[in-house]
Amino acid sequence: MIKIENLHVILGGFKLEIPRLEVRSGEYMVIMGPSGVGKTVLLHTIAGFIRPAKGRIVIDGRDVTREPPEKRGAVLVPQNYALWPHLSVYDNIAYGLRLRGISEKEIMSRIEKISEILGIKHLLKRKPATLSGGEKQRVALARALIVNPRILLLDEPLSSLDPGIRWRSMEFLKKLHKTLSFTTIHVTHDIIETMYLGEKIGYMREGVLIGVYEPGEFLNTEYAKPYIEIISKILGKKAYGHV
């Protein structure tokens, strides 16, 4: 569980403001906002790479605002997945466990388990450069999930995938969350992703988190309106075409 209170970040001319944000254990939070709104800055601040000017970040009851990234248990999956090119898929996934001093035998059995769930067993010996976008995404998820993060930070996890695989990947993420129920903040600019995956939905505009909504509630806000209009136009046209 993560709680953010009155968080202010100042980066050059850019200001981020999160009055209040709470993600319960096992909850999948999607924060939506256009490009440049500060989504990556928010995730980097939660992870501890950017020091806030003001405010508090509490993870599982512990105030981590002044803690270094490695002590927070907030694991980042960047937009490009950032797999380490010099390590095999297996060593990429094992990295976090090795840091924790876990035995190689235990690591092997845990990797076996998670790669089964993620369907990447056949990739373990490969180097990241040889993987497709979808495969990279699964490996990045395995690398993050294997350490049981207190909170998983997904930075536009679907936007670097081809449209065809994006939808399947979205379904896959949903199933994966059902199986493992990790606590997540997923940021995106895509309304479909937001509506499909979000158990709670946050909306950001000009560096400010405007509010957090239930999915049904979000559809009725003015922020969802332009998208809904486009979708109904598409659906309307289609219906019309069938007449």
Partner: protein, 255 residues
């Protein structure tokens, strides 16, 4: 249109050939002039000049290696800061690092002696010492090492380190397990170029530390005393050693 492009390319290729000829011809002629059995003379002869030359060669190699390792130790943290951090005055610092490239090497010797010599404000005992040789070599090749490492660090996406941190690695752990292995090639290339530059340094060494004699000084002396007779064989040995190191490291570098 295509024909004219190809003509241009042909002219450029001709220019390239001339450049290659200028580089390779002197080396080839050296190998033609110095017959193979002369190398045995260099390594086996008890003649004074060869005894001195062998010792000087060892001095050059150890000093160049020491200079390279020292610059690596200085360069890795410095280049990392310059590649990653933004701070006021950074451009100035980057310009300062390249200054040694602009100063004539004799002048480098003089200013080092003025500063770190026996009468300088900071006496580092560089006058006619092995350390003096190393310092001179370091001064002239520092920009090469620093710039090569900096380029390496700049090509590494910072998020590769951030992920490691978020998975539980301390800054230094992420640096040694992710960042350093990823710039392995730059470390190798920087070391190679630095070593080669250090081996070929003579101007500043001439001023600071004529003794212990380095191989270039011995070649210079041989040339001044005997003309090309001994200088050629000494040069051939030096070039062979440098080329061997160069090729060996290039092969490792390619994996």
């Amino acid at each position: 249109m295509l024909a004219s492009i190809e003509k241009t390319l042909l002219v450029f290729a001709g220019v390239l050939t001339i450049a290659l000829f200028i580089i390779v011809a002197p080396i080839l002629s050296l190998y033609i002039i110095v017959p193979p059995q002369e190398y045995a003379v260099f390594f086996g002869s008890n003649a004074q000049i060869f005894v001195v030359a062998r010792k000087a060669l060892m001095t050059s190699i150890t000093a160049a290696t020491a200079a390279t390792l020292s610059l690596l130790a200085l360069g890795i943290p410095s280049a990392y800061v310059l590649a990653r951090a933004e701070f006021p005055g950074k451009r100035v610092i980057e310009a300062i690092i390249d200054i040694p490239l602009l100063i004539p090497h004799i002048v480098v010797g003089i200013i080092l002696l003025l500063t770190f010599g026996p009468r300088g404000p900071i006496n580092l005992h560089i006058m006619d010492t092995f350390n003096g040789v190393v310092l001179a070599m370091m001064y002239v090749s520092l920009p090469i090492m620093f710039d090569t490492l900096k380029i390496g660090f700049k090509t590494i996406d910072e998020e590769l380190e951030l992920v490691a941190r978020s998975l539980g690695a301390s800054k230094i752990k992420a640096f040694t397990t992710i960042t350093l292995p990823l710039i392995k090639r730059n470390i190798l290339a920087g070391s190679l170029l630095t070593w080669a530059r250090a081996m070929s340094e003579v101007g500043s060494i001439l001023i600071i530390a004529y003794y212990p004699k380095t191989i270039n000084i011995v070649i210079l002396e041989a040339f001044q005393t005997y003309g090309l007779k001994y200088a050629a064989i000494l040069s051939a040995v030096l070039i062979t050693i440098s080329l061997t190191v160069f090729i060996a490291l290039r092969m490792v570098y390619r994996e």
